[in-house]
């Protein structure tokens, strides 16, 4: 739990990050970006799970489970449909390079190294968490 001022600080900083992170996107990627952002707010699932897990009355539980179903649909469906859109962008580049061959799995080692490293760092704590 946090006090109000810390939450407000975080909120204001997140607004600026949100503005900054999409400010120079070409119109080609507007649709996938919107769809990806749409999937991210499916994280309300975390809130729905907490409420469902603390529900004492059957009535409250029923509403909370409905929220869980809706939030899961938003989260899972959102990421899957975004991936489908982007799958085609990859196919296009593969087709441009070598028409018949299947495009190789990743865009090469230089393409976004920092995010790769972070992804690995992130995996480690999660592993520990699920073991406990």
């Amino acid at each position: 739990m946090m006090d109000g001022i810390s939450l407000l600080t975080i909120t204001v900083l997140a607004v600026f990050v949100g503005f900054e992170v999409v400010s120079k996107v070409s119109s080609t990627l507007h649709t996938p970006l919107m769809s990806g952002a749409n999937a991210i707010h499916g994280i309300i699932l975390v809130g729905a799970i907490i409420v469902a897990g603390q529900a004492a009355h059957p009535w409250v539980l029923a509403v909370a489970l409905l929220a869980v179903v809706l939030a899961t649909a938003n989260l899972v469906g959102g990421f899957v449909v975004t991936d489908r859109m982007l799958e085609m962008f990859r196919g296009r580049r593969g087709a441009a390079d070598k028409p018949p061959g299947k495009p190789s799995a990743s865009g090469g080692p230089h393409a976004g190294g920092p995010s790769d490293i972070k992804a690995h760092e992130g995996k480690a704590p999660e592993g520990k968490g699920s073991v406990r």
Partner: protein, 457 residues
């Protein structure tokens, strides 16, 4: 079961938030977009696993069952949906997210013990409900379950005003007293406001409204995070709210419209209303063979694809036609209007699906000066994005929208189903010009015939 240490929990949520930021960053560039999306999905998975191990939860089998139901329905639908129907699916997923946020807030109201907390509950309820109902209406419009034209009736602004006033009133009462009954009233008012907000929006503007409602859901999720004291929800929701706002403005700018004009235009009577009237002025219509001759003996052809191409699933045939023309030594490009299709970037996705090489897809700013050097501009299933009314007639609903300058090409060929006006419902003067030839029929059928005739030349 022992629970995770609160500090470790916070760190895991922080990691998830960082993944979300990296996801949005990755979605900025075609090269990193797909990985960005996967990074976001991983962040979400991390957060959901964390919540199971960090709070004491009852009803876990029920929760897992509900998650299974939600993914079991959404994932196959998202896998199988036709790319042309993708915008309405995004609208649907956005709506259910808003609905979930509203329900969470409703259930948390009894635990909200101060006025600020209840204010966050009220905000989430209202905005989540607006997003849910508004998205449902956009879904119905895009799926053509209802008319795509603006629905306006006398007294709409008054009704909207009354609903908002009532919402503010009951919201204030909930903040002060925490009454659950009034919260339910507020929920219903929010749903009503969502419907009234989207009904007057014209078909062509619907994608911008999806983006706006997406930002709304983000804000609702952020507010629900304040209610639950969950920093991850606050950060993720705020990120989406802020980036969604920027994106909405960028989309509106690409169409030469303002967000306020889209939402409230119909009230003033200058929305994308248009008409369904069919003019009986003479046009020059032609056969597939004639079009093939025009194309086959040109040096430079620019293809302008529109939504009609997409619904007819003709993108593969268009790609084949481009190949056949290139085999004859003709230079072929695709001119992509920023809002071609149903959403910005939608047409790029559809043509990429048909393996049209990236280098052949030209953005509007890049190609507009080149129509002058083109022998033929082949407009397939597009209308509003090449309509000169956007430049010339100040009273037109699309006035001010940047268009592709196909009129500069020596010949213009329209492949169209009929003379009916396009999505925005405005007649296109270009179709009556002497340099214009029309070939009537379904976009895919026409393209197949033209392709056959080109090969036979």
């Amino acid at each position: 079961m022992t629970l995770l240490d609160p500090t470790l929990t916070s760190l895991l949520y922080l990691a998830a938030a960082v993944f979300f930021i990296l996801a949005l960053k990755g979605l900025n560039s075609p090269r990193t977009a797909r990985r960005g999306n996967l990074v976001g999905a991983f962040g979400a998975l991390l957060a959901v696993v964390t919540v199971f191990f960090s709070v004491r939860l009852d009803n876990v089998p029920w929760i897992l069952g509900a998650i299974a139901v939600g993914s079991g329905v959404a994932a196959p639908v998202a896998r199988r949906v036709k790319m042309t129907q993708m915008p309405q699916l995004v609208a649907l997923f956005n709506g259910v997210g808003g609905g979930a946020a509203a329900l969470v807030a409703l259930l948390e109201l009894p635990h909200a013990d101060d006025g600020w907390m209840r204010l966050a509950v009220v905000f989430t309820l209202l905005v989540g409900a607006v997003s849910f109902a508004g998205s449902a209406i956009t879904f119905a419009k895009l799926q053509e379950l209802m008319t795509t034209r603006p629905v306006v009736f006398p007294g709409l602004p008054v009704l909207m005003g009354a609903v908002l006033l009532a919402a503010v009133g009951s919201g204030a009462a909930v903040v002060l007293g925490g009454s659950l009954a009034l919260a339910l009233v507020l929920l219903v008012l929010g749903l009503l406001a969502g419907v009234l907000l989207v009904l007057p929006v014209g078909g062509a503007d619907v994608p911008i409204v999806i983006s706006l409602l997406n930002a709304f859901t983000g804000l609702a999720v952020a507010a629900s995070g304040l209610v639950l004291g969950n920093v991850l929800l606050v950060v993720a929701g705020t990120l989406v709210g802020a980036s969604g706002t920027i994106l909405t403005r960028a989309m509106a700018a690409a169409m030469g419209r303002s967000v306020a004009g889209i939402l409230f235009g119909a009230f003033k009577g200058n929305s994308t209303a248009g008409s369904t009237a069919v003019s009986d002025r003479p046009v020059r219509s032609s056969s597939a063979e004639d079009v093939a001759v025009l194309l086959g003996y040109a040096q430079r052809v620019i293809i302008v694809p529109g939504y009609g191409l997409a619904v007819a699933q003709g993108q593969h045939t268009a790609a084949e036609l481009a190949l056949a023309l290139e085999a004859r030594g003709i230079r072929v490009d695709f001119a992509i209007h920023p809002v071609a299709g149903r959403m910005p970037g939608h047409m790029n996705v559809l043509l990429a699906e048909a393996n049209v090489p990236y280098e052949s897809l030209k953005e509007m700013s890049e190609i507009n000066s080149e129509f002058r050097t083109a022998d033929v501009a082949l407009v397939v299933g597009a209308n509003d994005v090449v309509n000169p009314a956007a430049k010339t007639s100040a009273g037109s609903p699309i006035y001010g929208m940047p268009i592709l300058e196909v009129a500069d090409a020596r010949q213009v060929v329209f492949l169209k189903r009929s003379l009916r006006p396009g999505f925005a419902g405005i007649e296109n003067e270009l179709m009556y010009e002497p340099q214009t030839t029309l070939l009537f029929g379904d976009a895919k059928d026409s393209l197949t015939k033209v392709l056959g005739a080109v090969k036979a030349l």
